[in-house]
Amino acid sequence: MATTNRSSPLGPLDLPRPEPRERRVPEHLWGYVLVAPAVLLVLGLILYPVGYSFWLSLHSKHAYMPIETFIGFENFVWIWEDEDFWRSIRLGMVYAFGSLSLQIVVGVGAALLLNQSFVGRGFVRALALFPYMMPTIVVVILMRWIFNDSYGVAKFLIEGSGLMARAPVFFDPDHVMLTMILASTWTFFPFVVIGVLARLQTIDLELYAAAKVDGAGVLRQFWHVTLPQIRGVLFVIVLLRFMFMFTKFDLIWLFAGAGGLGYFVRTLPIYTFVKSFGELQVGFGAALSVIMFTMLSAFAVVYFRLFRRDEHA
């Protein structure tokens, strides 16, 4: 019978004796434990609502009566065939791209001006942020007053200055989208100013000096020095502001509501609200939310990829 003999014929092996092992939690487990609260927070605050929305979107569910029926993807089929859904996407795109473009143009312009040295610059910089700090309801009341067709200041200035014999009716169906875009631009351009101005202040002035030596004028300096330097900031601003504007609810709702004038600016968030809390179809509303979420996620992914490819090119 074979036996096991750890002793060598040459004598006992001089193996190091293992030290007594401590009963310790492995280090990687500590990592999990420490990360757990954050993970739970993310699961609870982000994944659960998104998951629940998706679950609701598969149901026909009344907003407050206990009526809930599983209908699979039927809500999505309704939406696909829904003329008003496609219209809300179209209007949302017009509003988001229109207000975003103007915010970028006005915001970058204002940031460039505020980056110059002049007396009272600090005060003007603070003033430029003012619209962004105003509550939306105040902005809406102010704008409705300014653009009112009977007693609005805009009408008074336009007609009084002789610019036009009759000022346009800002809140009629032909102009309400434009009015909404202008109001949004005024309210949100300071967001662009803050980001761009912060970046402008860190640009190495030697770059401008070198460009001047090479004979670049103001426009070429902007194109070849400033713009490449603020590109990274603009990338983030465009991404965020597009998402903010596409999902904007309060300003449009307070301006125009759902019906009447609201018909002409009924973007996807407004349409979703009407379906969920007007028609009380929470399941249908959840399906719209899921679509909106998917669209914006897809937009972010595509946008990142395009930008990165551009960066590496």
Binding site: S60, H62, A63, Y64, M65, I67, T69, W78, E83, D84, D149, S150, V169, F171, D172, P173, V176, A256, G257, A258, G259, G260, L261, G262, Y263, R266, V274, F277, G278, E279, L280, Q281, F284
Partner: protein, 454 residues
């Protein structure tokens, strides 16, 4: 002093404070709280309700009444949350169709005892008809006050246009002719001003369809938007928009329309008696000269076929929630509220718009002596005539049976009818196309909600 003794002393002090707080809170905890949600945020009305509550609490120790005045839209949302969570108020206002829908779901306490305490036969017949559930022989609500939507106009502008200011148009054709004469677009003056938000378009469409001999639903609840009276109403609206409405009418709020009449931007509006305050504030000259008038009748459409006009009955009902904590105390409060003395004070808080639901109060000398009637008695009388003769109906209800359809609230809060009107008046669709689309959307909504019965 040792740490231990300091800790013990702090512990004793804390325990004493808690005991004191519990003792002090004991009477409050023993109170039965009656929550009242209503839609009359007017400070005068709120003050009157506060007074009634104080008197009620004196008579009913142990009961506390808390009023909460909300805007209509806010009440809807608050009610949705309450229904979803089961945290019902004892008493709340609601539209007539909400009352029917909630009672059908078994959520409301019958109010026959409240009605009996007021005197059933004393209540105006049309109010009884509105709140009485024939099938169950039960009242589940009672209008807190009523009002009637009337045509309000500037007599001076009528005279300037060569029109008889006392002659109400009998037909839509006559009305359009009047409005054309009252419109001068070069001066920014329009014959009519209508409120554009969805709620008000719903109000106008059902009234005009009803005034054209039409209906919004058949017996089974199927929408009837493609029927001739609805199409004609849309054609009429298109003509109105082209000839006689301001280009921004869709953005005009309800109060804006009163401002339009007060400032002479529009000669006519449709609205309620609450606007008298507005005229007194912004058009005191016109009021002093008696240039603000109301017509007792409204015009009818070409398919009316001898049927009278339909106008809106402002008639939100008090409802008592069966599953609230103190429904019986809620009922006791409503009985107290409707005692003649208390109810008179309430009605006088908005003297023209609040028309009493009881016939005895209508003829009560104290009511007739209401100071505001010196200027506005004609308005109250016009409302009375409509209530007695023309059976006004609540919003979205062209026929009494419509009250029993469970989807009226969802349809009213959708944009289906509003979009139909908007598309026609903007020339984006013909009346037939817009009506077909609205019909299809409404049928889809009712199907999705599970209420389809045809």
């Amino acid at each position: 002093m040792t740490k231990h003794s300091a800790f013990a002393r702090a512990l004793r002090a804390g325990a004493a404070a808690v005991a004191l707080a519990v003792f002090a809170a004991a009477p409050a905890m023993a109170q039965k709280v009656v929550n009242v949600w209503h839609t009359e945020p007017n400070p005068r009305t709120k003050a009157v309700i506060d007074g009634i509550i104080a008197d009620f609490e004196k008579e009913n120790p142990g009961v506390k009444v808390v009023q909460e005045a909300l805007a209509w839209g806010d009440l809807d949302k608050k009610m949705q949350a309450a229904l979803a969570s089961g945290a019902f108020p004892e008493i709340a206002h609601g539209q007539a169709y909400n009352e029917r829908s909630l009672s059908a779901k078994g959520l409301l306490r019958p109010m026959n005892d409240v009605i009996a305490s007021i005197g059933e036969q004393d209540i105006f017949p049309v109010v009884r008809k509105l709140n009485y559930n024939e099938k169950e022989k039960t009242y589940y609500g009672l209008a807190h006050a009523v009002g009637v939507d009337l045509t309000i106009y500037r007599k001076d502008m009528m005279r300037e246009a060569g029109l008889d200011p006392e002659k109400a148009p009998a037909t839509w054709r006559e009305w359009i002719d009047q409005l054309k004469k009252l419109t001068d677009k070069s001066k920014g003056r329009y014959g009519l001003s209508l409120a554009g938000p969805g709620f008000f378009i719903n109000e106008d469409i059902y009234m005009w369809v009803g005034s054209n001999g039409g209906r919004l639903f058949d017996e089974k609840g199927r929408p009837t938007f493609t029927e001739k009276p609805v199409i004609e109403t849309l054609e009429f609206w298109k003509e109105l928009a082209d000839c006689c409405l301001a280009p921004d009418w869709l953005s005009r709020g309800y109060l804006d329309t009163f401002g339009d009449v007060a400032t002479g931007k529009a000669a006519m509006i449709v609205g309620w008696g609450r606007g008298t305050d507005y005229f007194e504030q912004y058009a005191p000259d016109a009021v002093a000269k008696g240039d603000i008038g109301v017509f007792k009748t409204k015009p009818v459409g070409p398919s009316a076929g001898g049927k009278p006009f339909l106008t809106q009955f402002d008639s939100e009902a008090w409802m008592i929630f069966k599953n609230s904590k103190h429904p019986e105390e809620g009922a006791a409060f409503l009985k107290f509220f409707h005692r003649a003395d208390n109810y008179l004070k309430y009605i006088q808080s908005v003297p023209v718009h609040f028309f009493p639901v009881t016939q005895s109060l209508r003829t009560d000398p104290r009511y007739l002596a209401t100071p505001a009637f010196q200027k506005w008695k004609f308005w109250v009388d016009a409302q009375h005539e409509v209530i007695e003769k023309y059976e006004p109906k609540p919003v979205m209800i062209t026929e009494w049976k419509d009250l029993d359809f469970p989807f009226i609230a969802e349809l009213a809060n959708s944009t289906i009818l509003v979009d139909m009107v908007t598309e026609v008046t903007r020339g984006q669709r013909t009346p037939v196309e817009a009506a077909r689309r609205a019909q299809q959307r409404a049928e889809q909504l009712i199907t999705q909600l599970g209420y389809r019965k045809w």
